[in-house]
């Protein structure tokens, strides 16, 4: 970033906005990229690009939309050089999903908020499985070895937990909307 621009927005605002939206931005990228490694790489590239272009940012605009636009470009750029090409969704879908995600940002924010509450409602055992998978970053195979189960069992367990969380989130939102009916 060049700081010579007299009218460029202050750096502190960038830090503030980026911190506020980075979780949602990560979710946006995760929906378009196939693996965690890809997501992490794109997130890093996007952060850098946002910082480089910060002096062009119009503070009256929506930061998240602007960031998603840049993230979308980074997704396409990363895809071209990715070693996991076979896993990438096609361009048309990436475009569609990007647009539609931006139409529903409020809903996804609500769902993310509800997720935290729902994780806290999981049983100890299910929470432990989630921690192994997401905190320790274990693959299913590693988890299976550690737990002495088959990978298929671990897959099913994780699927069940994700379904439970999904149901819980939906129920939470429904309850919220019903109670404020």
């Amino acid at each position: 970033m060049t700081s010579s621009h007299d009218n460029s927005p202050p750096s502190s605002l960038f830090v503030q906005l980026f911190a506020k939206h980075q979780c949602a931005l990560n979710a946006f990228i995760s929906t378009l990229a196939p693996t965690r490694t890809d997501v992490d790489d794109i997130m890093q590239e996007t952060s850098l690009a946002l910082w480089k272009k910060w002096d062009q940012f119009d503070v009256s605009r929506d930061f998240f939309r602007w960031a998603c636009g840049i993230a979308h470009i980074e997704v396409l750029r990363h895809r071209r050089k990715s070693a996991t090409d076979r896993l990438w969704l096609n361009d048309e879908l990436i475009q569609l999903l990007s647009v539609e995600m931006l139409e529903n940002t409020e809903l996804f924010d609500l769902r993310r908020d509800a997720l935290e509450g729902c994780v806290q409602k999981l049983s100890d055992v299910d929470r432990a499985a989630v921690e192994l998978r997401y905190q320790s970053g274990m693959t299913v195979d590693t988890m299976a070895k550690k737990l002495g189960k088959t990978p298929r069992t671990v897959h099913r367990t994780m699927s069940r937990i994700r379904r439970l969380l999904h149901t819980c989130i939906t129920a939470t939102l429904r309850e919220l909307s019903g109670q404020s009916a």
């Binding site: 529903n104 993310r112 997720l115 806290q120 409602k121 055992v125 998978r133 969380l165 819980c168």
Partner: protein
Amino acid sequence: MNPAHESNADSTELLSLAERWLEGVISADEKQRLEQLLLSDRRRRDQFVQHVQLSAGLHWMFSAANQVANVIDPEPEGESRPAAIIAQRRLGLSNDENFIRGYQRCAAREPHLQAWLQIYPRIRAATCLARGGAAGDEQILGRIVEAFLVDYAPGLTTNELWRLASRSVLEVLGSVPSQLLPQQVLRALCSATFAAAEPAGQLDTIAVCELLDEHVPHKFSPDALRLLYLRYLHGLAPAKVALHLRRPASSVRLQLAALRLDLVQRCLNKDADDQQASDADQLAWRSWNSLLDGEPLSREATSEVHEWIASSPDNATRAILAAIIHDYLGRQLLAVRLLHELGVRNDQSYVQAVEQSLRDIELLATPLGPPAPSARTVSSGPVKLAAALGLAAGLLLSVGLGLWGGKSPTPPGQPATNPPSVAQNDPPAPKPRPSEPPLPPVVAVVSESLGLAPRDSDRIGIGTLLRQGDAIAFDHGIAQISTTTGSTLVLEGPIQATAESSSLIALGRGKLTGLNASRGESLVIQTPHSRVTDLGTEFGVRVTDNQVVSVSVYEGEVELANQGAEDEQASPLAVQLTAGWEAQLDRNAALAPRAVPLTHQREFVRVDEVQLRKEARAGVDAALAAVDFYELLRVDDLIAYQGFDVDSQGTSYTIGFRDPPIRRSGRLSFGPNVGDIAPLRGRSGSLEASDGVSFFLDLDTSERSFLAKANLVDDDGLVGQRPGELWLAWRTQIVGAEGADFDWAGLSLMFGNDRTTDEPLFVGVPAGMNAFGLHVLPSLVDDPMRQAPLDQDPQLDGVQAVVPDNRAHLWVMRLRMDGDQADAAVWCDVPPDLIADTSPQLLKPTEGLRFDRLRLEARPTGGVGAWLFDDITLAASLQGIADVLHRADSRSNDPQASVTGP
């Protein structure tokens, strides 16, 4: 294919593919299919994004190690447990009183709740084994649960909980005479089944039930389907199944054992033949299956089984799993389920198996006698058989067996000319009964009934068959019916309706909700002068006594069209309504009805509320509060209510106020409920006001608000200038210090936040007064008496002032508004039903009244003491106020009043 099933199947496939994509193990073909599904439908893309973002959210959440500690912190006692609540629904035990008793006791602790979800199915399975399905199982289960609960304490560790379960089972089943399970086998089984608190491994009952849900019955082979229905729906022992199928009994036993083994292996994530079973294992497995089928074991077999269970934890797991599956099949293999799942498969052999199973139902029901319209309640048979009979007969008679074979339906009453082919070893079809006139086809079955009067529940009990042309009428309560085309309707009493067909209900008077899940077939509600047609949606229809029809749409789209009898040539007036809109149609309407936004989502008892009401009857707190709230929403003339739900800090179970429901200038604090009984149970508290902190409740004056519908909102979004009457009620109580004085304390009507200019009316203890009274804004009224006290007895000379004390008080205020003139009448501690005949304790004319918010505030003179405010209620009539407050009173006389029906 049924759209619901198609959607479910697609959804399952989509999520499975999304999982594989997330794990990076998706094949090229699978990815292509994923892309195809996603490109075809926005809803699928939304579902995919939600699923992927859930995973991303978990990654994000857990990427910071310090967050883990927060996640695993135990939750405070009594907090709601959505995870456990959701999980228990998967077990399908919400009607089981013994399950609910334990669930309620364990509700204070999430680990105990989760353990109970694992323990109870095991208790059922052990009881099932010991008793062989004999009568009285429920009492034995009740005794085990009782023994468990006697020693239960919230402080138990999870391991102690499991040991307690084991002890309770051993104690009760060990003392039951003539039980099938030999003591040594029972001890070995309990030791293996209840020893470990680790539920998530091979024997997670939630996962087992989910898997069984996926497989039963549509993933069975046609042959297996029929066998299992004979065994479980009809409760036939293997020997009788063999007789019915004209096969050797040993072959039936072997097939049952193989089917159970298949399900067991699926639950364990193993292929049926991935383990080489020894001869001893096979023998023991067969003996174990004999036990499941209620056949006592020989001494040798007992010894083999005992050795088999004791020799390996895997064998013990298989043994109890088989019993859990056996119990599940007994509870879940209903004909209704069979029919609901029919759309999942359409291959000819499966269809024939369904047809044959339906024939079995007809054949095996013969001893019960032919069903007749006058004897619709089959009280002598189990409920599920009654439902099965109804649907089977309905399908056989109404559409003929050619429905699934692509043939034209046979007209009702005429025998099918081309009966479907059946397996060679099937018994002959029943002989026709030429002397009996054909019965009208069955079009629906009553699947739930709540709170019906005894005379009505005899006619409309669960399992009652509804035939074409049957009238459905009852005075109060709720009945839910499932039609043979897959729709569900919830009918609320008082109602008069007729089941014209499986997709046409004539509604003469009353309220019903329809949930159309049929295969693209419209569900039509015919009212005396209109027709409501929908497709794949959820909606409510109400016909009042003077034949005004109201329609509310919750999902999808419906058409409301009049059918004026007076001018049949005229083209019908119609309106298309989408989700979130409602409309009314008057009998003599000359114009098409106008669609308006729904004020709230609960005008009608919807299908999901039926389940909530069942849970409320069982005493589940969250369900009680929700059902009470939904009932409150249905009070005529209600405009707003705030009961100060403690758990949600006043944001839940409130209506008629804008977000945030409570604005304040300081700390938010809640106190106990004011008054003995709250309109909402379980969660209600009160707002504690002190230290001069202002609490604002902003009224919803938007276009779809109750206030706007009552025509009380002017162009500036304020109340007070439009002519009309508004009633307010609220409760107060002083707490915190004996004899505390207050500079002022009470409720204000305001149109801004500034007390000096925006507060036209205040009720409570006004500044400078040591009595209950009222204060009007001085700048608006040229009145030296801008403050006035309440007079307890206006008939007596002088003012009998009401001095503040520590008792709970109920305030009711009537505002009569007409342009710039208004008056406020106040009653304190006068029951609402006496107010109409009681002079107000204070009547004060005001000018320039306008407001859009309430302020609650108390300023203690010495800084000590507080006012509690509760049950803030606004209604367009005194009756509305009385109805809200009487809900609590009526419940104190009949605790089930609000959960059984309106």
